[in-house]
């Protein structure tokens, strides 16, 4: 690269003239050195070699010569050099032109040219990237190089550090103080936290859906939210979401702060949302300030009444000066940073001064500066903001980028201060004035904020716990922390000017589930001992906590099981501090020592690891008679325990334990509380092989999966197929038939054979005998008794009635007492006036009194009460078939 890298472009003006004047002025310096410097500058545009450039500049530029050059500069020119210094030494042509125009320079071009001519500014281009050989080959040799337009000027003006130091300038002064205004809008952090508290409650209760295209609630839900927040004017359904900017802002802050999240298009509160109201104000302020700064919208500008901001849809992105989301976030952070550098805590300042201060500290604050282009320019030749106009007079009026700073960027600063920063508690505002609050100063690190501040004692809550377990609290923003604390242990019933909460066993247990200690629960209710709780409430809460602590269900634990207590003792000696004994042969592995225990156990010869998350697999074998043989290598106490409940145990030929699943053992297990599903699932899951069809049939039959079946004597009627429909259409015949065995055979009830025969003969059929079947043998009975089979067939239809032998009643009762079968009795009580009453009982014992009267002690199944019945007053007994 030759010295031709030095070019003057854009605002610098005519290339040949500038090159000539530059060459003349730099003639006194070593021409070769300047050329080298220019080359370095071209390379160092990215900033990697910036320090090297500065060193070279120091060596080349002589101080006495520079002083002479600086002597004749105007105030604006000196400020301009200081401005470049604040930007780090480089300024883009558009930025330079904009700054000079803003400060009333008649010709920014001439000013720049003069500074370059005095060797106080150095224009440079970034070397173009190496040409693509293919493109180079395709381009004709006579084709000129692409001409650089001013707006596409890829270089900058550089003011070396040695010049900047001599020119003066440096840090901007702090903002001037203003008199205190008579009225102000105070910082409103408690109100914002209260709104977020209500929002979180609203979302938790309703879990509303967002719109299809955004993370915001739809209009109907926004209206409900507005009503919940106590904003009736916003509760009316808006035509567009943009019409409720305050609610959208609140929602966005909650999302940004991680208080709510979108899950399956539903807006739901996160775990941290509950804790926000209880955090100290300084932490709330920090969190919400960060969330408000990180908003991607730019509602501050759109809220400005004297501006008309074109919606993105109205213009294509290239025609609209909409700052990208990242620029909006950076701009807000610069405002916050400017407050720390320019504002004094507790002192009133003008917002316009802050905007001016921001302008001086860097031009590309919100919208990037441009050179005049096709979008248009003002009469003075400055570029205009695209898509942003003033409409205070009703007539659209373009705003120039230089003179329009207070209208656009200034409006953004004012909007951010008056809305977001005031709501999060950083500033108070009054018209065009603002001041940093104490809280704001502490958050920004301007006051002596210490760690102790975050641990400051919570203010006393304003509430009282009533003896009827209701809690009434002040619903004001400054009492919100107390309400939030209370809502952890009680259910929030309503929340308005006063909050009503209800204390219950469930709410207290929920608080304990969330990790609150029992002492903390009482602490919340008594407001750290400042407000005594009535005796009955304290007693009940204490009882609830004791009952809660009484039973603990542990899950996801590691438990070691051994065969003997001595074995466990030696294991504990081998692994000191790693095991917590649960019983003589069982110990829990402490979570922090799991890896060590596992490592030590690998050295033991006989260790079986069982992962219960995977379920029990192939623990035993089941033969055709449903006899269970455990697999010793997989056997442990749980399948052993279950089998002991659902099967009968016995010793096998080799002495090992075996189990036989029988109808009785299944009935016993069902009575003890096992469900059919659980038993079937356990056997199928633990069996080494899939159960055969016969095994499944038996098991399911005993489990009562199938309804009762009956075998009954019947007669088969064979009939011509074409007559079937006509025969079945006769009601008398249809009633006499039990159903169809096949298309040409029907089943006739035995007691209806004569009737069927008569009806068929009357209809002209020739009825032949020959298909009568009597599988039970003997003559066909008139009313054949049904003999149900199935899980309970031995018990079904066992009954006793008045008139049957007395011994049969005693025998039946003795039998059901022994087996515990439920019975239904008809009983004539003295109290009910001899009217028989039906009872369903679980018999427990029979008692003979010394007067010779027998009494039945039983438990009423419906009422769960124990009763005594005089056996002689029992009119009938039916043994129930269900377990």
């Amino acid at each position: 690269m030759e010295g031709s890298a030095i070019r003057s472009q854009g605002p610098v003006g005519d290339t040949r003239a500038d090159s000539r004047s530059l060459a003349e002025l730099l003639g006194e310096y070593s021409e070769a050195a300047v050329r080298d410097l220019a080359q370095l500058l071209g390379v160092a545009r990215g900033g990697t070699h910036r320090a090297l450039c500065e060193r070279v500049a120091r060596a080349v530029l002589k101080a006495d010569r520079l002083r002479a050059s600086l002597k004749g500069l105007s105030r604006v020119e000196r400020d301009f050099l200081a401005f470049i210094g604040r930007l780090g030494g480089d300024v883009e042509p558009a930025q330079a032109a904009w700054w000079l125009s803003y400060h009333g320079t008649s010709s920014s071009l001439n000013t720049t040219r003069r500074l370059i001519a005095r060797a106080l500014l150095f224009p440079f281009l970034v070397p173009p990237p190496p040409a693509d050989p293919m493109t180079e080959a395709a381009r004709p040799h006579h084709s000129p190089e692409p001409r650089l337009t001013p707006s596409a000027f890829p270089g900058a003006l550089w003011c070396p550090e040695s010049i900047r130091r001599l020119a003066g300038g440096g840090a901007l002064p702090t903002l001037p103080a203003q008199p205190e205004p008579p009225q102000m809008d105070r910082a409103a952090l408690p109100d914002l936290v209260r709104d977020l508290f209500v929002l979180v409650r609203f979302l938790s209760a309703k879990q509303p859906r967002t719109t299809r295209t955004s993370r915001h609630l739809d209009q109907a839900n926004l209206a409900e939210l507005a009503a919940a927040l106590g904003r009736p004017q916003a509760a009316r359904p808006a035509r567009r979401l943009e019409d409720v900017p305050e609610l959208l802002w609140l929602e966005s802050v909650a999302l940004q702060a991680g208080l709510v999240e979108v899950r399956d298009r539903r807006l739901t509160a996160t775990a941290s949302a509950e804790a926000l109201a209880q955090r100290p104000p300084i932490e709330q302020c920090r969190l919400l300030l960060e969330a408000a700064s990180a908003q991607t919208g730019w509602g501050e500008l759109e809220a400005e009444e004297e501006l008309a901001v074109a919606r993105p849809a109205a213009l294509s992105p290239g025609e609209l000066d909409v700052p990208p989301p990242g620029a909006r976030v950076r701009a807000r952070r610069r405002i916050v940073q400017a407050l720390t550098q320019a504002a004094s805590p507790g002192t009133w300042h003008r917002i316009a001064d802050l905007a001016e201060w921001l302008m001086e500290s860097g031009p590309d604050f919100l919208i990037r500066r441009r050179l005049p282009d096709r979008a248009g320019a003002t009469e003075a030749g400055e570029p205009i903001y695209r898509g942003i106009r003033r409409n205070a007079s009703g007539e659209p009026q373009s705003i120039g980028m230089a003179t329009g700073w207070p209208w656009v960027e200034g409006a953004f600063v004012a909007g951010f201060l008056r809305a977001a920063l005031r709501r999060v508690g950083v500033v108070d505002t009054a018209g065009d004035l603002f001041r940093l609050t104490d809280l704001g100063a502490r958050v920004l690190g301007l006051a002596g904020e210490t760690e102790a501040a975050s641990e400051e004692a919570l203010p006393p809550g304003r509430f009282f716990v009533q003896p009827n377990f209701e809690i009434i609290a002040d619903g004001g923003g400054d009492n919100l922390a107390a309400v939030a604390r209370l809502s952890q242990v009680a259910d929030l019933v309503s929340f308005d000017r006063a909050a009503l909460l209800k204390l219950s066993r469930e709410s207290v247990c929920r608080a304990l589930d969330q990790g609150l200690s029992s002492a903390a629960v009482m602490d919340v209710l008594s407001d750290s001992g400042r407000s005594p709780v009535s005796q009955n409430v304290a007693f009940s809460v204490g009882e609830w906590i004791a009952a809660y602590e009484r039973y603990q269900v542990w899950s996801e634990a590691w438990v070691i099981e051994v065969d003997s207590a001595s074995e466990l003792g030696s294991l504990q000696e081998e692994l000191p501090g790693c095991l917590e004994r649960l019983g003589p042969t069982a110990a829990r592995v402490l979570p922090q020592h799991r890896a060590r225990v596992e490592q030590v156990l690998t050295q033991h010869p006989d260790v079986l690891a069982i992962d219960h998350a995977a379920g029990l697999r192939a623990v035993f074998d089941v033969d055709d008679r449903l006899v269970v043989t455990p697999d010793p290598s997989r056997w442990h106490w749980y399948p052993e325990h279950v089998l002991s409940q659902i099967a009968d145990s016995f010793r096998g030929k080799r002495g090992g334990p075996r189990y036989r699943i029988t109808r009785e053992s299944i009935l016993r297990a069902l009575e003890s509380g096992w469900t059919a599903d659980e038993i079937e699932h356990f056997v199928e899951q633990c069996a080494a092989r899939p159960l055969s069809a016969a095994q499944v049939l038996s098991l399911r039959g005993w489990l009562g999966r199938y309804g009762p079946v009956a075998l009954a004597p019947a007669v088969l009627l064979r009939l011509p197929i074409d007559s079937r429909a006509d025969i079945l259409a006769v009601p008398e015949l249809r009633e006499a038939l039990l159903g169809a065995a096949s298309p040409s055979v029907c089943v006739v009830r035995c007691d209806e054979v004569a009737k069927v025969r008569r009806l068929l003969q009357c209809a002209g059929f020739t009825v032949e005998d020959g298909l009568a079947l009597d599988p039970l043998g003997g003559p066909t009975p008139a009313s054949p008794p049904t003999q149900p089979i199935g899980p309970n067939h031995a018990w079904a239809q066992r009954r006793w009635r008045t008139g049957d032998p007395e011994e049969a009643r005693q025998a039946l009762l003795a039998e059901v007492v022994d087996t515990g079968r439920p019975i239904a009795i008809s009983y004539c009580s003295v109290i009910t006036g001899e009217e028989p009453q039906e009872w369903v009982l679980i018999p427990e014992r029979l008692e003979d009194t010394r007067w010779g009267l027998a009494r039945l002690h039983a438990r009423c199944r419906e009422r769960g009460e124990r009763r005594t019945f005089d056996v002689s007053r029992i009119d009938s007994i039916v043994v129930l078939s269900e377990p």
């Binding site: 603990q552 269900v553 051994v562 979570p591 596992e598 509380g673």
Partner: protein, 77 residues
């Protein structure tokens, strides 16, 4: 033989009578496994919810504790 049960579940009570009371309760009994001691009983990992529901129906409100926190050892439920 040493058996190491992973993802195990158990019920711990703070007095002897409590477990006996629970085992005597209809509907809860079957959800409780073998007793490891007078105050600890084994639970089926896959029937925890059924147990919790049975306990709730019987008027109990047990504390749920998970033992998977590697650092605390006292993982709250």
């Amino acid at each position: 033989m040493i058996r190491l049960h992973k993802h195990a579940a158990f019920l711990m009570v703070n007095d002897r009578g409590a477990l006996a009371e629970l085992i005597a309760t209809q509907g809860v009994r079957s959800a409780i496994g073998p007793q490891l001691s007078a105050t600890v009983a084994w639970l089926d990992h896959h029937r925890l919810e059924a147990l919790r529901e049975a306990l709730r129906q019987a008027g109990y409100r047990p504390r749920s504790r998970t033992d998977e926190t590697p650092d605390g050892g006292e993982g709250g439920g």
